[in-house]
């Protein structure tokens, strides 16, 4: 797993723009909500965790790139946990089997089984690191359960569910619009850097071609070191 401590949140994070900023709140204070959420998932969809036993009940790093923090999900079938990991934490010491990074919206779609296993790999928005099998297993397992993040989360709040429902839907709409805007803005601001990368890539490609030719020449009559 590559070492990539979480950088500062994108300044134009759609979450922030949507006015749902969690910024003033220390992330650890959100922990009880996530604990409650994973417990509820465990109650409702215990088969998700049972399906992952064959893979050794992996620990996953779930990284919504547009949020200022990520999660560690431990899929222990008896006591699954979802822990907030603050920015700057060293991911390498967390005994993580695999990592999924991507925009929150797409991570939710993945959780609800709306992103296909094959599509998961076609997409450039979701980045899968580490044990690919563990990630595919997670996708297949959640797909087998009828998870609905909106409804499941709303149920957490009991009698308040109606008004929050409306708010969540509005947030979802705003979120969608801003995430479109954001990708335009970020493309514009990274263009010069991209050109430099392209130039470097061209020279790497040239080197790779040379290596491939050399491999070919070495192909048959290889020198034996013995």
């Amino acid at each position: 797993m590559s070492h990539s401590p979480k950088g500062p949140p994108a300044p134009l994070s759609p979450i922030l723009l949507a006015g749902l900023a969690l910024r003033p709140v220390p992330y650890v204070l959100l922990q009880p909500i996530f604990t409650k959420a994973i417990r509820q998932m465990h109650n409702r969809h215990s088969d998700v965790f049972e399906r992952l036993i064959a893979l050794g009940s992996p620990r996953y790093l779930i990284d919504p790139v547009d949020l200022p923090f990520s999660f560690i999900m431990d899929t222990n079938p008896a006591h699954p946990t979802l822990d907030v990991l603050a920015e700057g934490s060293d991911e390498t010491i967390m005994d993580i089997k695999a990592c999924v990074r991507g925009p929150l919206l797409q991570l939710i779609e993945l959780l609800e089984g709306r992103i296909d296993g094959d599509a998961l790999f076609f997409s450039r928005d979701l980045v899968v690191e580490g044990d690919t099998e563990a990630v595919l297993g997670l996708r297949n397992a959640v797909d087998g359960a009828d998870i609905n993040v909106h409804e499941d989360l709303l149920d957490l709040f009991g009698p308040l569910s109606k008004p929050i429902d409306g708010a969540a839907q509005i947030a979802g709409k705003i979120f969608n619009r801003f995430s479109r805007d954001l990708s335009l803005i970020s493309q514009a601001s990274t263009a010069p850097l991209q050109r430099k990368c392209d130039a470097q890539a061209a020279s790497i490609e040239e080197l790779e071609e040379t290596v491939a030719t050399l491999k070919k020449q070495l192909r048959r009559r290889r020198e034996k070191t013995a």
């Binding site: 491999k215 034996k224 070191t225 013995a226």
Partner: protein, 303 residues
């Protein structure tokens, strides 16, 4: 009980003259017990060598070799079905079935089953033995553990390929023709260009597979020389050499000397390495790991 070296069918498209001379030399010089004859990969190649078959079979038989005729591995068209039926209808010859179409017609008589028919377990072994199979060449991806379990239950003679590029897949599509931008129907027999198969590399230049018309083989060459004793202990007594475009008489001599205890596997592998011009060896399937890998002493000669 003695162990036999057998020569599998030539999988590649060699010119008829070359093929005839090859078998004449095998008849005269190679220490092999059984020779498998016939086109297994592509029915389009079949007419070229067919006229030479009786002469070659006779020469081999006269030299004391057993001859078995191998059937096509992939039988699709009406013509291919007919070819298999004709082969199976021949009197007084032993046939190796490489597709169920052949196996079904050989029921009730002494016949062989080739490595393109799936026998992975005792259950299917028993069915084929019950139908009259007395010589069974097992699929290449079986591990040591599977071979041992099968050998324990076998009534028929079991055979394992110990040398040559490993057949990995067969398709209705011709990849040789496709690589040259030709249609299968008008392929111009381009597979003739590569008597050992056409190398297929990854995008970063690592050799990976070999293309032989409809068939895909390993880039590496199987070499189970270090596993011969182990297999003999299991009760496997028949070892298949799959012909490559090298001195197969010398290849057979080398394996024979190891089977007879005259030569060590290690020094023999060095000689085989020269004969194969440095083509890497592999034996991974035997150890239930990646087929491409070289284990247990063969590492130095692997990829």
């Amino acid at each position: 009980m003695t162990s036999h070296l057998n020569l599998g069918p030539v999988l590649f498209n060699w010119p008829a003259d070359k093929l005839r001379d090859f078998y004449f030399r095998i008849a005269d010089e190679a220490p092999v017990h059984t020779v498998f004859l016939g086109e297994v990969v592509c029915s389009k190649r079949q007419p070229f060598f067919a006229p030479h078959l009786p002469e070659v079979a006779e020469r081999l038989t006269a030299a004391g070799k057993r001859v078995i005729f191998s059937s096509l591995a992939l039988v699709l068209s009406k013509r291919e079905v007919e070819l298999v039926r004709e082969l199976c209808a021949l009197d007084d010859v032993m046939v190796e079935a490489n597709d169920l179409s052949a196996a079904s017609q050989l029921m009730g008589r002494d016949h062989a089953i080739g490595p393109f028919i799936n026998i992975y377990n005792e259950g299917s072994l028993k069915v084929f033995e019950g139908q009259g199979a007395t010589h069974i060449s097992l699929p290449g991806e079986l591990s040591r553990k599977s071979l041992a379990a099968l050998a324990k239950n076998a009534q028929a003679d079991l055979e394992v390929q110990i040398f040559g590029r490993q057949p990995l897949a067969i398709s209705a599509r011709c990849y040789h023709a496709r690589a040259m931008g030709l249609a299968k129907d008008s392929c111009q027999y381009v597979c003739e260009k590569h008597p050992d198969g056409m190398d297929l590399d990854t995008l970063d230049g690592d050799p990976f597979l070999a293309v032989n018309g409809l068939q895909t083989l390993s880039y590496t060459c199987a070499n189970l020389i270090g596993e011969l004793t182990d297999m003999q202990t299991m009760g496997i007594r028949n070892f298949r050499l799959s012909p490559q475009n090298t001195d197969m008489v010398e290849v057979a001599n080398l394996y024979r000397r190891v089977l007879d205890g005259i030569q060590e596997p290690e020094s023999t592998t060095e000689k085989l390495d020269d004969l194969m011009d440095g083509l890497p060896f592999s034996n991974g399937f035997y150890y239930a790991t990646e087929g491409v890998s070289a284990q247990n002493g063969l590492e130095e000669f692997g990829v």
